[in-house]
Amino acid sequence: MGLGWSRRVFVKAGIAAALGPTWSSASAAGAPAEPADLCAVAAADPYQATLKAIEQLGGIGRFVPKGATVGLLINHQFRNPGAHVNPDVSAAVAALCWEAGAKSILSLKDERFTYWRREGRSQDAARKITPCSGNYVTVEVPRGQALRKAEVIKEFFAADVLINVSVAKDHDGTRYACVLKNAMGALTYTTCQFFHFGHGKGGWYGDVGFLSQCVADLNLLRTPDLAVADATTILTSNGPFGPGKLAKPQTVVAGASAVSVDAYCTRFLGLDPSRVAMIVRSAALGLGETDLRKVKVREFSI
């Protein structure tokens, strides 16, 4: 059973896959001399891991100017373990935004179940978060190859800063889901249906290539300014809803590129990013780098 996905295995996989970045202990690392493009922090406390990962990118100030309106797109739709972002990860992101002087934080997705109620720190961070309006706008996707039009929650565009907070997990159709796919959370159900059925071949996953291209096209509309991936407890089977096998890499990954963060996180499911169509297609659209040798990756273990 996957609950025992060991730290040792994870670290070995991380080192092998990243070809260059090395793991440091937090005690040996102070403030970063030069901001990383991507930072992965393995820690028992997801809240602290998130703070550390964003600090290593140059701090939240790099992404959230004082007085900014922040749009938070959190994957909190499903309640089963490993199927949603740990609330401590989201809480840490929100807390940092307030600390940076954000004017407001908008939740781009209706809260499901009792997401923010689970942890004390989540309660504190969530208190001032503004729920989304529930109003959608229809927009063209000028460079879209499969997706030409989409109905998107209006705050997706209205926010000064977009932060995508997702969880790396198995997906029945695409085999992998995290930051890029989480962008679908900003869409109406009608548009999501197009992703699945717009190819006309039938079946929810009748054409995964088409679905993957739609995800890539969607990210053309707006790439997140900051991408945070929760890989603390992840679903490795029966995704995206669960319940299913769990792995516990106990890691939080943050980066300025959704594509690179997704490319990095595929390792937690034993996948190669070159085999995940939505990542490959997003990179082909110029949305980010999948070759992590070209990305300044920093890894820590607290």
Binding site: N80, G134, Y136, G173, Y189, H196, N238, P243, G244
Partner: protein, 192 residues
């Protein structure tokens, strides 16, 4: 850009007793109100929904855990709004309706119960086979059952049930088994 209201374009699952259940028959509601049988999520559920709602254990059977929020209901394509892409598997094998109820203990512990009513026994068996594998151990529950580290899945007749905890503590595992057995006992041997 044109504005669109989410209410008109979002597929929605329904909440037992909630405003979204628009087609509630007044007579049914009156009958249910008069009934001594406990129905999760309130009494305002139409007859097919009521059949599945009655499978949930009574609150006193899950103590000290308590129902957390209303029961969510989905029929046919509404399942997409409830479990997103996970719906494909069920719809492919003849999904009819589902009900999902959460239970909580304190603010940070939860259990989620999902009951899926399929159109036939074969559909429940197909989904069960797909959702279980070497990761789960066989469990004597229903017509076939399996247990993962923090969840149990079983099928009985044309029902497929999953009961999943948010943690794998001894207490949580005992509770999910208790809930699963309570549901198993409520599913009639010959459901129409």
């Amino acid at each position: 850009m044109s504005s669109a209201s989410s209410a008109s374009i979002l597929a929605r699952c329904r909440i037992a007793g909630g405003a979204a259940v628009a087609s509630v028959c007044v007579l049914t509601a009156i009958l249910i109100c008069l009934s001594p049988i406990w129905v999760p999520g309130g009494a305002a559920a139409d007859t097919p929904d009521r059949a599945i709602l009655l499978l949930f254990p009574k609150p006193e059977e899950v103590l000290p855990w308590a129902p957390d929020g209303p029961t969510q209901l989905a029929e046919g394509q509404e399942l997409f709004a409830l479990i997103n892409g996970g719906a494909e598997l069920f719809l492919r094998h003849g999904f009819e309706r589902a009900a999902v109820q959460s239970y909580s203990l304190a603010s940070d512990r939860h259990i989620q119960v999902e009951i899926y009513m399929m159109q036939g026994v074969d559909g429940a068996a197909e989904v069960f086979a797909r959702k279980t594998g070497p990761a789960e151990r066989p469990l004597a529950l229903g017509d076939a059952g399996a247990a993962g580290e923090y969840y149990v899945i079983f099928r009985r007749g044309r029902f497929l049930v999953t009961v999943a905890a948010g943690d794998a503590t001894t207490d949580a595992k005992a509770t999910i088994l208790r809930i699963a057995r309570a549901i198993e006992n409520r599913i009639p041997a010959r459901f129409p």
